[in-house]
């Protein structure tokens, strides 16, 4: 799967943890607007690939490039919006909105623009009630919606969504897919083991690879 117009390019990606080879020789090219489902059972390496693209994990071998930049570089991280493991990725004693405003400050040089973007996302995803609460008072599904909002901050070119619909109700799932529809320029890499998610993607990559 190679393409010259790829915003995300993965070549011969290999990642091992100790002796265990979790991802082996993965090649993938994702163009703007493409939705790719990384499909497979738990522990098959889907999240590992997302982490390599997000730059929080370095490949053992191979390369990952986002918009021509090596994954993990500052320029690459600007282009990527990630919703990885949600359970413990927010400041629990702060409200959802305060959390989003904090993360927005990393992506917008102009504070007002960050505030506008957060408020627009809260409205778009219909999470005003969630955003107003302290995160430690939110359910897993509510936190997951905050995670999706955070991933959309800064209008990323590449979206990384790890099991994005796992804890969502039908309405929230609908809002997530609608948000993706409204961003036809954004490529999305979606780790999932749910067939209904796969059906809404353009392509499926089966794991383990």
């Amino acid at each position: 799967m190679k393409s010259n117009g790829a915003v995300l390019s993965i070549e011969s990606l290999n990642r091992r943890f100790g002796r265990r080879e979790v991802v082996r020789s993965l090649d993938l090219a994702v163009e703007a607007g493409q939705r790719i489902a990384l499909w497979g059972p738990n522990g098959s390496g889907k999240s590992t690939v997302l982490r390599c693209v997000a730059g929080t994990l370095v490949p053992s071998a191979g390369s990952v490039r986002v918009g021509g930049h090596q994954a993990g570089e500052l320029a690459a991280r600007r282009l990527v919006g990630a919703s990885l493991s949600q359970e413990r990725s927010f400041y629990l004693r702060l409200s959802g909105r305060t959390n989003l405003l904090f993360f927005a400050r990393m992506r917008y040089d102009n504070q007002r623009e960050g505030v506008r973007s957060v408020d627009a996302l809260i409205e778009e995803l219909e999470i005003a009630d969630i955003a107003a609460q302290r995160v430690d008072r939110c359910s897993t599904g509510m936190v997951q919606q905050l995670g999706i909002a955070r991933a959309l901050l800064g209008d990323p070119v590449v979206l990384l969504l790890d099991e994005p619909t796992r804890s969502l109700d039908a309405e929230a799932r609908g809002r997530l897919w609608s948000a993706l529809e409204r961003r036809p320029h954004a490529a999305a890499l979606i780790a999932t083991h749910l067939d209904e998610d796969v059906k809404l993607c353009d392509e499926r990559v089966s794991f383990p690879v």
């Binding site: 730059g55 993990g72 500052l74 991280r77 990885l84 400041y91 305060t98 993360f103 400050r105």
Partner: protein, 276 residues
């Protein structure tokens, strides 16, 4: 990943550092009881040294860096130690908290540079330490009879800022240590405490064995305590200490930030950034 942490570094964005400071302030504010208990602990600490000084009233003041009494000497040591511990151990403490709360991966996935991350995570602790130190100094002046009439406040602030910068370089190194070692906070606590011990935080270094005095003569905390006490009790004589601290900061900060970047890269390679 070789270009992930460029050297020399770009200047940190103040807005990002301000956001980290604000976040830490909001989290700190949410623990109101802990905040009050912390102040209470500081006051008890002052009282302990006050009664020790009352017990041994005929201590010679020749080696007390110009302080008129042992309590004056120790109270300044306590107040300054708070700031110095915040500067040297603040980042390590924050990194450990980010590891334990699980937010470190989310944070490092953002477009944030190594200097922004290291200075931003340490800034609130340092500022909060300064406010606490000022509060305790105020208490010693108002209720414990310590006189600041000789104080050169410009010198005090100059040396305090230079001390913070010098010790921040050690703090960033200790933060790197926690990134790699995870439970490195015991070691960082021991190092910061030992620096205070050999630098004359609570007693004159003249009482230390010779070899400890030698070690104490080269650690930056020694210049910090000497310079700050000179500024407060003698109204001068802090210039040499300030210069030594600034030189230490100029050399140490880039090295510390570079090491922090390498530690972050090592965590990404090992796949441990989301672990605690």
């Amino acid at each position: 990943m070789t270009n992930a942490f460029p050297f020399p570094f770009s200047l940190p964005r103040l807005g990002v550092i301000a956001a980290l400071v604000r976040r830490d302030y909001l989290v700190q504010r949410s623990y109101r009881l802990a905040f009050v208990l912390d102040l209470f602990y500081g006051i008890v600490n002052l009282l302990v040294f006050y009664f020790i000084s009352q017990t041994f009233t005929d201590v010679a003041t020749a080696d007390l860096s110009g302080a008129p009494s042992y309590f004056a000497f120790a109270s300044i040591g306590i107040a300054i130690t708070i700031v110095l511990q915040a500067a040297s151990g603040g980042l390590a403490h924050r990194i450990r908290e980010e590891q334990l709360t699980g937010t470190l991966e989310a944070l490092t996935a953002q477009p944030i540079t190594v200097p922004e991350l290291s200075f931003g995570l340490a800034a609130f602790q340092f500022g909060f330490g300064m406010i606490r130190a000022a509060f305790y100094l105020l208490l010693t002046g108002l209720f414990f009879g310590v006189s600041f009439t000789q104080a050169d406040w410009v010198g005090f602030v100059t040396v305090l800022i230079a001390s913070g910068a010098a010790l921040a370089s050690i703090g960033v190194l200790l933060g790197a240590l926690v990134l790699v070692m995870k439970r490195g906070e015991v070691l960082t606590g021991a190092i910061t405490f030992a620096m205070g011990l050999v630098s004359g935080a609570f007693f004159p270094i003249a009482v230390l064995p010779g070899w400890l005095q030698t070690i104490g003569s080269v650690v930056p905390t020694r210049f910090a305590y000497d310079g700050l006490r000179s500024a407060i009790f003698e109204g001068g004589g802090w210039g040499g200490d300030a210069v030594a601290l600034i030189v230490f900061a100029v050399i140490g900060l880039p090295i510390g930030v570079w090491c922090f970047g390498r530690a972050l890269l090592q965590s990404r390679r090992a796949g441990t950034i989301s672990q605690y």
